[in-house]
Every structure is written in C-alpha cells, then in structure tokens.
C-alpha cells in the first residue's frame, strides 16, 4: 500500500473538511484582530509585544490561506523571529521599570485616536469593498516557491539588490546610532 | 559610592546573589550592582552563619576548645587543629614526639589534598562542568576513608591533642596512603586532560580576575591567592613549624595573577602534598605519640601569643591572650578566606557576572570560616 492509497482509504468527502477549514480561518482572523487590539490597547509594553506576536502569527495563517506558504513562513521567521524580538530588546534596554508609566497620554489622545482609527478603517474598507474588482482574465503563473525565486532573481533582481543594500545600510546605521554615546567600549 | 548615587549616573540594577545561591557554596550573600551583565559593585554581606567562636574560646577550657577548630574550615579541619595545638604547645613549652609530628604532617597534608580536590570539583561546577566534581569526590572519598580509619570522623576531625595525638596510626593506614598516592598520581593526568587543558575552561580562567601582588599585600590575602600572584610565600617554608623544615617540597608560584594561576597553584600543591606524604611515610620513626609530660590542667603563662600555620586556603593565625587561667582571656582567629574575600569588592568591579563568579570560585571560599 503506498501513500496515495492510504490517503484515499481515509478520504472523507462529506464537507467536514470545509467546515473545519472555515473554522480555522475564522480562528486566524480572530487571533489577528485580537492580537492587534492587544498590541495597541494594553498598558504594559510587554503585553503589547505579545499582542504583536499573536497578530503576526494570525497573519501568517491568513497568508497560508492565500495559498502562499512561503510568505507565511517568512512572516513567522522575520516578523516573529526578528522584528518582534528586536522590539522586545528595545524595551529591555530602554524601559527597565514599567511601573512609572502611568496615564501620560494627553487627555484628548484617546478619543481622538479612536476617531482617527475608526475613520481610516471605514474609509479604507468602504473604498476597497465598494470598488469593483475584476478577476484576472489569464493566470500567468501560480506563484509557487520556485516561481517566486525565479522572479526575484530575474525580473526583480534590481529591487532585490536594492533591498539588500537597504538592509546593509540599516545594520550599519543602527550600529552607528546605538553605539554613539556609549562610553564603555567593549 | 552608594548604589543610589550610582543609579543616577548609570543604568544599573541591584541583584542579590545569595544567601541561597548555587554559586556561593554556603550562605554568603553578595549585593551586586549590575550594569547589564557587568558588575559595577559587589559587596559581600557576611554573618549568616556566624557562631561567635571567639567568645566560645573565652569560656571554655583550652582542651574543650579543641573541637571548635574542626568547625571553622570544615574542609581542611586538620590544619586548624594543628595550628591550635601548636599554639598551646608553644605556650606551655611542650615537646611533641617526632612520630606524632610526622603523623600530624601526614594527615594534615592528606586533608589539604582532600580540600583542594573538593575545591577543584566545586570550582569546575561553578563554571558549569558537573562531572569533574564527582571524579574529584571519588578521590576525596578515599582520603576521607583513610582519615576516618585513623581519626574516627570524616569531616570535622578532632584528632590532635596537646603534646601528641588521639591515637596512633597502623600499617594498614600507611599502606593505604601509599596506594592512594599511586592512584591519585594516575588520576592527575586525567584531571589535566579533562579540565586544565579544556579550551572552554581556559577561556574562562585565563586573564580573568587579575590580582596583583600589591593588591594581595594591601588586602592581606594569603595562600594560593597570594602564590598565584607571583609571591613566593608559604608559612610552611617561611615560618617553619612542626617538621616541615626537614621535608623536601616546593612552593608552586605562578606569576600570571589570574584565576588560571590560582587554579594551577592548587593543582600543583596537590602534587607537592603527595611528595610530603611520601617522605613522611618513608621517614616516619617508631615511638610514642604523646609527650611524656603533659600537664593535666592547661594554664599557660600570662601574656599573649601568636601562631600561624598554612591552612589549605592561606595563613591561619591564632592570637591568644592568657591571664594564667585555664581559659583563654581572648582568642582571636585570623581566618584566611576572610581576608581573601575582602578583596573581592575591589577586584570584581567591571567584570562580567560569569567572570565574577569564576573569580569568586577561584578564591576558594569556605563560609563557616569567614563567618566564624
């Protein structure tokens, strides 16, 4: 019995799979939004970071549903493994005690922020939902990992190189900025 | 500088290392002020197991005070026993038979080896290596078995008496010693291969925790700490007592002043102690083990006396003031690690936490002795 027979043996075509799939999708959306809410609204910075991580994980799931596991995994690796950790490090270095952080927010910032955020959301949603999107007439490729890789090295090689230069400069720049003013050389 | 003043200038936080901490080998507390991983200030806080041994010395007879000596530095108790009985013998003018002297030196050196072995294991444990500790314990157990067969106890020995010994050694013990030396000689290369040569260990010890000879002098550091700083000073050689002048041994001295030098001094001292023991076994005369005339009641002449011996951790000195009674008027115990630890605060400034702990391990602390 090879693996395909095994698959077929257990194949269930009752639509249960779809329900589960939708459930998982809904779960990812909730995780994303909940994480975003936590990232913006919690008073403790550590929780904000945690919310951000949760949000990133949710988005990674969403990408998976958008049929691009590669980007989904890159999302995990770069956002969770690098960006979130970097921010966490920034907090460790720059905010040793969180206790003193009280309601320093200016009094109008809260309502104003809610208003602004809501209106931006509404505008964007209205714009994108209201528009008539046309499905593509032809599909050139399916966007598999191989195709992405080929595109990166042919069509977008210039952008690719530029991004690598940007990253290099970012590393150098952050080194320079972070080291200046540190008296103890080590 | 107080920690408050510090924290205004620097990003610092306080960390309490101890009194219950795996690296302090006892109840020592170190108040650390840290800047990230760097130690800004490290203030040892003592006294968690202070037992006022000095006051006990003032309300016990000279003989009754003897067991206290095993409770100071429980790892090399016999050195302390030796220092105390020699002090009393000095005061009373008691001549000790030669056989007793040889046995005293033999057992003291055995005890020194066991102390250094335990230090070796515990030090490597401080650095994160667990296995050498148990290998060292294996060898140390042999010493403890040997000493137990003579003294009856395994750790807090009370074996020497004014004018001699509690009891004589037999041939079994001497052959046991010879066998043990043979065994340890075959084990030492293994220790050096496993630990001394290890590149990780060398990285952690070489150039870590430098103490200059001048710093040792200003802080009164003695023992392997001093000898690791290039000062050739050993009470056994420089202020000879007992039969050490008749024995041929070297004093290992290293000029690097770092933790590795202190490590090497102790490892070499094990070799030298083995040489001493061999000579003791070879030269041991027959005869009595107690001086013929030891006064029943010890009542030293009025005056004050000082005697120092080389314990495993440095110079152990006793200063006593006698008022002619059967109890001391004042008994001052000068503990070597007390002084050795006092330089920790200055020497550890600016070190990494891990290095500071390695450095602390290289000082070979025994807390009951510091707290007395």
């Amino acid at each position: 019995m090879n693996i395909q027979e095994f698959y077929n043996y257990f194949q269930i075509s009752l639509g249960v799979a779809d329900v589960v799939k939708e459930g998982v999708f809904l779960g990812f959306i909730l995780v994303t939004l909940g994480g975003a809410l936590m990232a913006t609204c919690s008073t403790r910075t550590i929780r904000a970071i945690f919310g951000l991580v949760v949000c990133f994980v949710g988005i990674a799931g969403i990408y998976y549903f958008l049929n691009s596991p590669f980007v989904s995994l890159m999302q995990l690796m770069i956002y969770v493994g690098a960006v979130a950790i970097t921010i966490a490090f920034a907090i460790m270095l720059a905010e040793p005690d969180e206790n003193k952080r009280a309601a320093k927010t200016p009094p109008l910032a809260g309502p104003f922020a809610v208003l602004l955020g809501a209106s931006v959301t509404w505008a964007l949603a209205a714009a994108s939902l209201g528009a008539k999107w046309m499905a593509p007439a032809i599909v050139v490729n399916e966007g598999t990992v191989t195709q992405v890789g080929e595109a990166l090295l042919t069509k977008y090689s210039m952008a690719f190189e530029l991004v690598s230069i940007v990253l290099l400069l970012a590393i150098l720049g952050s080194l320079v900025v972070a080291r200046s003013g540190r008296d103890k050389e080590c | 500088m107080s920690s408050q003043a510090l924290s205004q200038n620097q990003e610092v936080f306080e960390l309490n290392l101890g009194p219950q901490h795996p690296a302090t080998h006892g109840v020592l507390r170190v108040k650390l002020v840290m800047d990230g991983e760097y130690v800004v200030d490290a203030e040892p806080v003592l006294g968690y197991i202070h037992r006022m041994h000095e006051l006990m010395g003032e309300n016990r007879t000279w003989a009754q005070y003897l067991p206290n000596m095993g409770r100071l530095d429980y790892l090399s108790a016999l050195s302390y026993n030796l220092g105390y009985v020699e002090l009393v013998e000095k005061m009373m003018g008691i001549e000790v038979p030669e056989r007793a002297e040889y046995i005293r030196v033999l057992t003291t050196e055995l005890n020194r080896i066991s102390s250094h072995l335990l230090w070796f294991g515990a030090f490597v444990l401080d650095l994160g290596g667990f296995t050498p500790l148990l290998y060292a314990f294996d060898d140390r157990e042999q010493i403890l078995d040997l000493l137990e067969s003579v003294t009856g106890s395994r750790l807090t020995y009370c074996y020497y008496r004014f004018g001699g010994l509690y009891n004589d050694v037999d041939d079994d013990f001497l052959t046991g010693c010879t066998q043990f030396l043979k065994r340890l000689r075959s084990r030492m290369p293994m220790y050096h291969d496993l630990v001394t040569g290890n590149v990780i260990l060398r990285q952690r010890l070489v150039d870590v925790g430098p103490i200059s000879a001048e710093m040792c002098r200003r802080y009164g550091a003695t023992g392997p700490v001093l000898r690791g700083s290039g000062v050739n000073y050993d009470v056994r050689k420089n202020e000879p007592y007992s039969i050490y002048p008749e024995l041929d041994f070297d004093v290992p001295v290293y000029n690097e002043c770092d933790s590795m030098a202190r490590y090497m001094v102790r490892m070499d001292e094990i070799e030298q102690s083995m040489r001493i023991i061999e000579q003791c076994i070879a030269q041991m005369p027959q005869g009595d083990i107690m001086a013929p005339k030891v006064p029943k009641m010890i009542k030293p002449e009025v005056g004050d006396y000082y005697h120092a011996v080389e314990a495993a951790r440095g110079t152990f000195g006793i200063r006593t003031v006698s008022d002619g009674k059967n109890q001391a008027y004042r008994m001052k115990l000068r503990a070597p690690t007390f002084c050795n630890l006092s330089l920790f605060q200055e020497a550890s400034k600016g070190m990494l936490l891990a290095d500071a702990l390695a450095f602390m391990g290289s000082l070979d602390l025994v807390i009951p002795e510091i707290d007395r």
Binding site: - | G47, M52, E54, R217, T222, Y233, Y306, R319, G324, S342
Partner: protein, 181 residues
C-alpha cells in the same frame, strides 16, 4: 623590608607618644611574664608605651610595640612603606583597667619571617580610634568586625556597620561585661 628601619621608626614613634617615663627598652619580656605568673590569676597590668623585641619562637612575633591611640596610623604608614601586610585587627577588653586594647598584627610576605604587633590602649568609656582604611583597605572588614565585637568606633571608617552580627544588633559580645542576649 628592612627590619632595622622598622625597629628604629617604631621605637621613635613609641618614644614621642610617651606620657610617662620611657620603658627601659628592650625590656626583658620574660620578667614581666614571670611577675604576672606569680600573681596567678590577676590579669597583667597595663603596659607602658614602648617597643619590645621578643622571641618569635615563643611569642610568634618579633616586635611588640605599644603606642598611643593616635599613633597607630603613623605606625601603619611606616609599616606599609616597608611592604608589610596587615594580617588582622582585633581588640582585647581590659575591663579591670577600664581600657580597651587594639591589636594590629602585621606580617611580611616577601620572604623573610617577620611579624610585628602594634598595640594601643584606649579608654573604655570613649572607644574612639582613627581608622586604618586609608592605609590598608583590608582594615575595612577587620575594623568592622572589631566594631561588632567591641563597639570600638573607628573614626573616618567609610562604612562602619555590623559585619558578622545581625544589622540590628546593639550588643558587643566580646566585652567582658556582656551577659548574653
């Protein structure tokens, strides 16, 4: 380290601080002891300032110097200049004379066997003496310990807190009138 220099310096120091007539130096210490032994249990009378060269095989030290309380720093500086190290500081409570004695043990670790003990007596009612911390940093802990046990106040000490006893203890166990707690 030069033994002769140390002896001369300390002798001069002891001589300048003398209030009474100088002790005939070198006073044979054995006599003093014998005298004390005759009286049996009576504690020895307070010594006068001066320098004694004693037998190290019997006493464990080479020089026994008694100074005034305000001269210990000068003595420490002289010994420091000669490369001696401070081994211990302790006190002795001479309650019958109503005095506290400070004992400073010095030794030489450079090779030769040489030990010096410096003593100073201070009144029991105002136990004040200046600190040696500026000369020998090792004095810091020794003085704190002596402060613990005897309540001697070391003037100028950077951190005169209890070292071995609990932080909140207000007793000094090695004073002879200490009755337990």
């Amino acid at each position: 380290m030069n033994k002769a220099t140390i002896t001369t310096q300390l002798r001069a120091l002891a001589a300048t601080g003398m209030v009474d007539e100088p002790e005939t130096a070198p006073a044979p210490v054995v006599e003093e002891v014998e005298e004390g032994a005759k009286k049996k249990a009576a504690p020895p009378a307070p010594r006068k300032n001066g320098l004694l060269e004693v037998d190290p095989a019997r006493k464990g030290v080479h020089l026994d110097v008694q100074l005034n309380g305000d001269q210990v720093v000068a003595a420490a500086q002289a010994l420091d200049a000669e490369g001696m190290q401070l081994e211990a500081i302790t006190g002795v409570d001479w309650i019958n004379d109503n005095e506290l004695e400070l004992v400073y043990d010095y030794s030489y670790t450079g090779g030769e066997f040489f030990r010096v003990v410096v003593r100073a007596r201070i009144p029991r009612d105002e136990p004040n003496i200046s600190t040696l911390c500026d000369v020998f940093p090792s004095a810091n802990w020794h003085e704190r310990e002596t402060y613990d046990f005897f309540g001697i106040n070391f003037e100028g000490h950077p951190q005169l807190e209890n070292l071995l006893l609990p932080e909140d203890s207000d007793f000094h166990p090695l004073l002879k009138d200490f009755k337990g707690c």
